[in-house]
Every structure is written in C-alpha cells, then in structure tokens.
C-alpha cells in the first residue's frame, strides 16, 4: 500500500505544452511538498502546503502552480513547458514542519521536454 504516490512516473512532452503531475498521500499528513531534482542531482524544494495553504513558495517561475484540493493531494501544474523544466519531480509529505518531522517521498516523475 503506497504511502505517497505520483502519476505519471514518466512524462515526455513538447515545449510549449501544459502538463500536470498528481500526488496523493495516504498517511494522514498535514503538509505536502514538491521538489525538483535537476540534471546535477540537486534536490530543491519548490512548494510546500500545510492544511491546503501555501507556506513555502521558493523562487520558481509562475508557470508552475501547485493545486491542493484537500490535505491528501497536491498536484503540480506546469504551463508553457520549457527545455529547462526537464527534471525529476518528487512529491513528499510530513506531519508538521519538514525540519522536525521526517518527510515521506513519492517515487518521482521524470519529465522530459523535447
């Protein structure tokens, strides 16, 4: 029974398209995150939601928009995809603040923009 799941696992699309990545957690956590791991393997937080409210919004292009319909879901929508958006995107969740509480990560979504 997967704790944090992401769909799709792989996503190949062309520049200029709009795409979404879905994330669901069944752990009952109140905080969810999106991370981007680039080609240099650098893992960087993009967004964090606590009880459906945005609490972290690192400097990411406004083409990226998180959507949280409820505590168990945090989807990532990307408009006008660019080559530089190619990366692995990880969703994660925790009960409480990331620093004090361990995060549980999904398996990642590999996005390739051609």
């Amino acid at each position: 029974d997967t704790a944090v799941s992401q769909t799709p696992k792989y996503l190949v699309t062309q520049m200029g398209n709009d795409k979404s990545i879905k994330c669901e957690q069944n752990l009952g956590h109140d905080t969810m995150y999106w991370y981007k791991q680039d080609s240099k393997k650098f893992l960087k937080i993009m967004f964090s939601y606590n009880n459906k409210e945005l609490i972290i919004n690192e400097t990411v292009p406004n083409r990226f928009s998180p959507k949280s319909p409820d505590k168990a879901h945090l989807n990532l929508h990307i408009n006008s995809l660019e080559l530089g958006d190619s990366a692995v995107y990880f969703c994660a969740s925790s009960q409480g603040r990331a620093g004090f509480h361990e995060q549980y990560f999904g398996p990642g979504t590999r996005l390739t923009v051609t």
Partner: protein, 110 residues
C-alpha cells in the same frame, strides 16, 4: 546559493568498514538536521536526524555527529553493508526553510 554542501560526490568503502559522509552548512540559524538515503528510481527515505541542541544521535549502525562551531555534520555507518550503497543527502532546516545538500554516492564493496 548553496546553504548545505556535500563536497564529496562519491565514496567507496569495503564491506564491514566504517563509512563517513560529511556535510557543511553556512546558516548558523539552522536548528534541525537530517540525513536521507536514496536508491535509483526511488524517492529519498529518511535515515536519521539531530537537533541543534545535541551533538550526537545514534540509531543502530547509523550515527550522526554535529559540530556547530564548524557548521559541520557527519554520518557514520558501522559496519558498512552492500545494501547501504545509495546516494545520501544531508538536509537542514529553520522555520519553513528546508535545504538539501547535493548528495554523496556511497558504494560499499563486498
């Protein structure tokens, strides 16, 4: 601006020996530190953590040491096992700020 750094991208250790992974940070206000382990094609998994009020935390074969004056933490794995081969990320946090290091790829040689 990289606030958490792991200067060794890779490390190879013989099975049974000690593995020492290092991490440096720049922000003295960080109050919590964590280590995560990542296998290929999987998300990171939590390994061990330490609060800034402590200098050592141990969990089985894993021990994390924190040197606040040097802004340095390390993860010791004793004894190392082939299943420990993975990428290890350190992370640091303060409030809603949370930063991962760039990772160290550990290979344990049987």
């Amino acid at each position: 601006d990289q606030q958490v750094k792991q200067n060794s991208p890779s490390l190879s250790v013989q099975e049974g020996r000690i593995s020492i992974l290092n991490c440096d940070y720049t922000n003295s206000m960080f109050d919590y530190f964590l280590w995560y382990k990542k296998y290929p094609a999987e998300g990171p998994t939590f390994l061990i953590s330490i609060s800034s009020i402590k200098d050592k935390n141990e969990d089985g074969r894993f021990t994390v040491f924190l040197n606040k004056s040097a802004k340095h933490l390390s993860l010791h794995i004793v004894p190392s096992q082939p299943g420990d081969s993975a990428v290890y990320f350190c992370a640091a946090s303060k409030g809603n700020q949370f930063y991962f290091g760039t990772g160290t790829s550990l290979t344990v040689i049987p």
